[in-house]
Structures are given as structure tokens and as C-alpha cells.
Point group: C2
Chain length 456, copies 2
């Protein structure tokens, strides 16, 4: 394996154990290009003598250049060679329509989640809704209860927003006493990022005319679970969207076709899919998913509930658990995602020395409000064991907590909203595993969470 030999200048070192300024990639490549000695440079122009490109001086013509390719397709699919880039489905063992599927974040790049890979969480399967028959009812504490067909709604004025949706239970294996060795996306991938387009809820609620007593919006999905959740009216009016399009096309069935609620920055369960009923009330409905679920006991004995907002989070996706630094010591790009339900990511800091020193990573532009933000930083791995971490700081000044800090405040009764720093250990062979911080706080262990058994 070739090793990059260019020495790294001191001025390019931005933190301990090999974290570098991004300009190093402009000064030197990785050195993985093999010198193409078999390509005879004959002195004549390959192209002028051979406009069809038949003569390539020993550069063999691969089989797919020797016969016509496939015909046009009306709707494309990924290459069959990428058939391992899929969601990881974790259904309940008995009732297979209840569960979740994870976005393979560790196999993706950039910030947009392709629609085929957006995470799923269903309680009773994906309803096969006929849009001709679907209706949206707005009723309760309103002056005019209204009912809309899909066709009606498609004529309404729309807005678009690129934002993430994250399940409140994402990353919850982090509460366990032993670090999960699931691949990064299959651990933290109940989070995805799309361009949503739809009608401001304020437009529709304005048309119905909310009475002064109306303080909550009860959203109900048209699935067999009749998913219900209570949303403060203020949030729905501020930036709630009745989403009809996802990344340009109509919603996918598993993401709420023909329409869903999108509440930017709020936990996934509030972004009710297959929305067919909105009732305005003076109090929350106290549905199952806001009482027995999506609440949690704090060390103080008090319970957290209605914890809507996703707090800032980040994780390194490459390298990450289960990967191997195959090319040995040398230059790598560390990259991952950060997001916050409270606004834009202000910065992401990365450490390669177990949290002793930190350097600011480069953020992919544009950095958007409550959207996935890609961070990248060059790293010169010296071949010794290393411990990699990232931490997000959002525009409110909030910094993603260490695991110690999170456990101290929330205990191991925690189940939702796990957003502690994720720590990857690289051994001298380049194998990457998930580890916890060295100084685990001693907290009461309240039992383990299993990702594939607990759905109900």
C-alpha cells in the first residue's frame, strides 16, 4: 500500500494527533493514484488520429464500451452494485408492521437523504392510501370546520424548507451500559434530511378560524394505528407545514403519502404522517405516544414530557464503527453530520486525541436552519491507536454534551433524546469501534435497550 510521504507543516496542524487544516488537501493529494506506466505515451495525439477514441495506447476498453448500454428508464434506480446501501429494518418480532428502519448515514455523503432511504417509524404498517379518497378534516375549536381533498390542497400556496426529521428515540442504544457496535447509520440513522414542500399550517388554520380557546392541535394519521399527537398551536402557526412534496416529488408512502405534518426541529413523532384529521382543543389529548411513550423519568423523580425540540447533535460517519482504515497510516478526511432543532449549526469541533484538543471542522455551505450540516476535516493518522469525537455547537450557543454530562442530568432511565458525543476508537490495525468515554459516571442501571425487540 502506498503511503503519502509529503511532510505536514506545523502551520497546518490545527489540533493534536494529526488534525489538519483543510488547505493540506490543496497542497497534496492522498497519493492513491498508481502511476499509469502501462499507458504508453507515444508522442502522437490519441485523439486527433482517432476521433472515436478507439486507440488508447494499451488502456484496455472495458466490456461496457464494446456494446450499447441500457435503454432509457422512466423512473431510475440505483446501480445493482449499490444494493447494500439500504435501510436497516427492525420490526417487532411478532407484529412486523410495528418498528423502524434506519437511514444508512454511514454510506451516504452530502446532506440530502434520497427519498428511498428516508428513515421510517410505523406503528401498524404503511397505509396504502388512495389520494382520491383521502380527506383532511380541520375541526374542534374553530369557526368553520373544513374538509379538503388532495386536489384542493394542491392548489394552495406552498413553501419549501430543507430540514431534518429525527425520531425522539434515535440513538437510544447510547443509554445502554455497553457501547453498541451497530454501524453508525443503524445506530443514529432514525434521522434524515429532505426538502419538504407544502402549505403553511397557518394558511389552513386561518381559513378555519381558530377560536381564542384553541391552544392545542391534535393531529391524527390515517394509518391503522390512528397515530395521534398533541402539538401546541403556537408551533403549528409559527412554521408548521402540511407537506405534500419531499425532495421535489410527492411524498413517499412510508413518509406519509399523500400528506404529513412537518414541524421543523421537533421530534419525529410530532411530524404526523398520513395526516387526515386536525382537531383544535384547549388541552393536549394525552395520547399513548405522549404519556406511556415519549416521556421519561429523571433522576429527580420528575418526568420529562412534551420534550419536542431536538437538541444539537453530531457524529463522525467516516471513519465510524465497523470500518477499517484500509490504506494504513496517512491522510484521511474525517466527515460527519451535525444538526440542531434550535437553529443553525454554528460550528463542529473534532478531536483525534480522546477529547484533549479540538479543532474546528469545515462546514458544507450553505449551513441551513434545522437541517443536516456536513462537516469535514483532514486527519493525518500516524498508525497509533486514536480516539475520534465530534461535538456540535448551535447558534444558541448550546454545545452537544459529553456522555458523562448527559447521564448526570438524565440518568439511565433515559430513553429518548440521546445526543451525547459519539466516540470512535481506532486501533493500530485501523479497525474502528464504538467506545464510551473513559470515565463512565456511576449511575443506576435501569436495564438495557434492545433495538429489535422493544417496538410497541
Amino acid at each position: 500500500m502506498k503511503k503519502p510521504s509529503a511532510p505536514v507543516e506545523t502551520a497546518d496542524r490545527v489540533a493534536g494527533n494529526g488534525l489538519l487544516h483543510r488547505r493540506v488537501f490543496l497542497k497534496q493529494g492522498l497519493g492513491f493514484g498508481l502511476v499509469a506506466s502501462t499507458v504508453a505515451l507515444t508522442g502522437r495525439s490519441l485523439y486527433a488520429a482517432d476521433p472515436a477514441g478507439l486507440d488508447r495506447g494499451g488502456f484496455a476498453r472495458p466490456p461496457w464500451m464494446q456494446q450499447p448500454g441500457a435503454e432509457f428508464s422512466l423512473y431510475g434506480s440505483p446501480s445493482p452494485h449499490e444494493d447494500q446501501v439500504v435501510r436497516f429494518a427492525s420490526p417487532n418480532r411478532v407484529m412486523r408492521m410495528n418498528g423502524a428502519s434506519w437511514t444508512p448515514l454511514h454510506k451516504l455523503e452530502g446532506t440530502i437523504t434520497p427519498n428511498g432511504l428516508h428513515y421510517e417509524r410505523h406503528h401498524n404498517g404503511v397505509p396504502q392510501i388512495d389520494p382520491e379518497l383521502h380527506r383532511l378534516l380541520i375541526h374542534g375549536d374553530v369557526q368553520r370546520p373544513l374538509q379538503f381533498s388532495v386536489e384542493d390542497l394542491l392548489r394552495y400556496p406552498m413553501v419549501s424548507k430543507i430540514c431534518f426529521i429525527e425520531c425522539g428515540g434515535n440513538s437510544n442504544a447510547g443509554w445502554n451500559s455497553q457501547p453498541s457496535q451497530a454501524e453508525a447509520g443503524y445506530f443514529h440513522g432514525l434521522a434524515s434530511n429532505s426538502e419538504w414542500t407544502g402549505i403553511p399550517m397557518a394558511t389552513l388554520l386561518g381559513e378555519a378560524g381558530v377560536n381564542p380557546s384553541g391552544q392545542w392541535l391534535i393531529a391524527e394519521g390515517a394509518d391503522a394505528f390512528a397515530m395521534q399527537i398533541s402539538v401546541p398551536l403556537e408551533k403549528a402557526m409559527a412554521d408548521g407545514m402540511l407537506a405534500l412534496y419531499q425532495n421535489g416529488e410527492r411524498l413517499r408512502p412510508e413518509n406519509g403519502y399523500p400528506m404529513r405534518l412537518v414541524l421543523p426541529g421537533w421530534e419525529g413523532v410530532t411530524n404526523v404522517k398520513w395526516l387526515h384529521r386536525v382537531k383544535i382543543t384547549d388541552q393536549p389529548v394525552m395520547a399513548r405516544n405522549e404519556t406511556s411513550k415519549y416521556t421519561e423519568l429523571l433522576p429527580s423523580g420528575k418526568a420529562r414530557m412534551f420534550t419536542f425540540t431536538i437538541e444539537a447533535k453530531s457524529l463522525i460517519l467516516s471513519p465510524s464503527g465497523g470500518m477499517v482504515l484500509k490504506s494504513g497510516p496517512g491522510l484521511y478526511q474525517i466527515t460527519g453530520l451535525a444538526w440542531s432543532g434550535n437553529g443553525k449549526i454554528k460550528k463542529v469541533e473534532v478531536s483525534a486525541d480522546d477529547g484533549k484538543t479540538w479543532a474546528e471542522a469545515d462546514l458544507q455551505a450553505p449551513v441551513l436552519d434545522r437541517a443536516f450540516t456536513r462537516f469535514r476535516i483532514p486527519w493525518q493518522w500516524n498508525g497509533s491507536p486514536a480516539v475520534l469525537m465530534s461535538r456540535a455547537i448551535d447558534e444558541t450557543g448550546y454545545m452537544q454534551p459529553s456522555r458523562r454530562e448527559l447521564l448526570a442530568s438524565r440518568g439511565r432511565h433515559g430513553f429518548y433524546h440521546y445526543n451525547a458525543i459519539v466516540t470512535w476508537s481506532v486501533d493500530s490495525s485501523g479497525n474502528v469501534t464504538h467506545v464510551y468515554e473513559k470515565d463512565e459516571p456511576e449511575v443506576m442501571d435501569d436495564g438495557e435497550i434492545s433495538i429489535d425487540a422493544g417496538w410497541d
Copy 2:
């Protein structure tokens, strides 16, 4: 059909024939919500008495709430009810692997084109490339000819950019003497917009070491056509990207899997797909697609060639040709897309009175450099015939030309880079058709262009 009855205030009128300020949608809805009189408001809470939501006071439970839905899928697909939202393929009648397929822009919303609907242009089909066997060669006027495997390249530092790619021949039916009645996407949809992620060409070319004599980059695709194009080295070094990912996932086969060149803002043909060879030279290769194609004769008798940059363009997508304003006179949202290969869109102006008066449309944030920009503006249609137009102005100050202006400068010998204002006529029944400006310039007619016969 219900008609909105709220009067429009004078202060909300922003141009002639009903163009309105966007605040009107905050003041009044469209009035399409039917009063849901069948929903008995019984005075008891539907929810408190019935946490499972079984009792909905006459609001019937649709069939998909009465049985479990579908299981989890590893890679999702659109709803079968959206099976008409597809690309329009136009293959050569004899050689079906040569041709193009259009993005159905008129059926999409927002700015991102889903990968399954990105436009295609192939000369000899989509090669079925095995990424294990694919190699990228960089040779010619370089110090070190280099060869890369896909696996090598996936370790290189990457960057991302959301940008459009548009075929230089997009919209070319506009050169015809009679206005095409194809739907908007099947006329102007050889343009799509994705988040591309890959390696800066500057990184790879830097590693190979370009000699001072190297001024051009000859890119060759690994398809059976061995597609070749010449790109000035300066552009490749400035912002050329070897793209490996499209909207988060690896490239689709029809968009160049496993790798393509992306040259933001430059005509599609230069964004060579299935890239397998880059040769640095001191002059262009004068390949077929830069001599007999992608050049055009001007009225002066001189020829345009190497017309790389896409100039600013816009069109209204809703309403657009073939649509009907079904709900009759009333409030509508006019929406469409604008883009420019020279930077950001500064503004889009819309006219509803055949170009007599213009109003500035709202632009979806964030407005990105060389990316699709969605514009929207409310319109109160009074039921009389109306003529709708949009024109884009980019950050260089360039304004999209009228058809008259374009024909005057380019003649009807034109074939590429048609970016004139698109004009839609609405008749009193609400039927929308494509029309040309009233005062057609008299130019020599050089024959008609047929979208389904000319591919070669």
C-alpha cells in the same frame, strides 16, 4: 365550484391583471375547504372518550385504517398513484439507446430533482459498469500519469454543491416557428438540480502535476459512444468536481455511475458521465460534440462554438401548457423555476398582462449559486384571457431575453442555448397553452426541430 369572495385590497396589487403581494395568502385562504357539516360536533371530546380514535362522529374510517399497512422496505418507491410522474423518454426511432429523457418539471415542487427523475442524455445507452473494474486515468501533459480505482477515490476529500445541470439543447423546440404544446417539463426539462458530492478536480490534477503546456482537459466517458469533450483546464481547476454522489447516495447509472464530471453552470454535455479518462492537452480535441454538434451558425455567418455557460432562464411551471385552471376565477399561486450558469438568481419578475407590467416574485430561500431557484407569486385570475410570463435576472445583471431579442441575435439557425421568456396563454375556460410573443420578428426560417427524430 366555490369562488373566493374576499376583496383584494389595492395595496396588495403588485402588477397588472391580478398579480398580488404574497401577504394575501396570510390574510385569506383559497376557500377550497368545504364546510364539514357532516361532522357532528357533539360537545364531548372525541379523543378523551376514545383514545384509540374509534369514534369520529360521522367521519368515516377509510379502508386503510381498518387493516395493518405494508411492511418496512429497504429501499422505497413512489406511491403507485403517482406512476404518471415519470421522465418523458425520446429515443432515436432507429437506435433506441440514443436520445434523451426529460424531467417532469411541471409535476414537481421545490428545487431538488429526485434521482429517479433526473434528465438523461445518452448517445449509446447506459453502460452497466462494474465499479470493481472501473478505472480513472489521468494522463497527457502531466508529470505523473495516474490511474485510480473507485475504492481509491472514495477515500479522497470531498466537497458538495447543489447545482443544476442543463443540456445545451434544452428547450430547443423554442426555435421552431410554431409554439410547441408539449407540457412544460417535456419541453424545458433537460435540466435537473441535485446535491453533487465528489472530489475537486484540482486535487486530482494537482497530484498528477499538470505541465505548463497543458491548457485543455479532454474528458472521455466509458460508454459505448466513448463520449469525448474538451474543457478549458482553468474551469476544471476552478470548480470542476469528480462527482461520486448525487443527493446523498452514489450516482445513478444513467447519471454516470460510478463517476462523472460536474462543471457547475456549464452545459450538460461537458459534464461527462462514466468518466474514465482525462487527458491534458494544449488544444481542444475537436470531438464530434464540439464541432458538428453544440455549435451553431449566427446570422452574421460566423459560428458559435464552445458556448459552455448556461445563461439565465426561467419559466412558469404552474400554471403551464396543458393545465386547466379548474376552479375558475379566483386566487392562484404562480410558481416556477429560474437558474443561471453565471451565479445566483437576483430576481424573477412575473407578468400577467402580456409583458405590460411586471412584479417581483418571492424566491425560495436559500438562493444558491448556479442552482434551481423556485419562485412564487399570488395571482387573482379574473376569468378573462390572460398571458403569463416570467423573466430571470441573475447577479451579473443579465436579464433573460424576450424571444424577439433572442431571435434577433441568434436567428433561427439556432439550436442550442434557447433561453427566451416562455409565454403561457390562459383562455376564459382556464385552458393554458404555449404562445409566442405577439410581434414575431421576421427571420429566415431554417427548418423545424422535432424532439423525437433528431437524435444522433
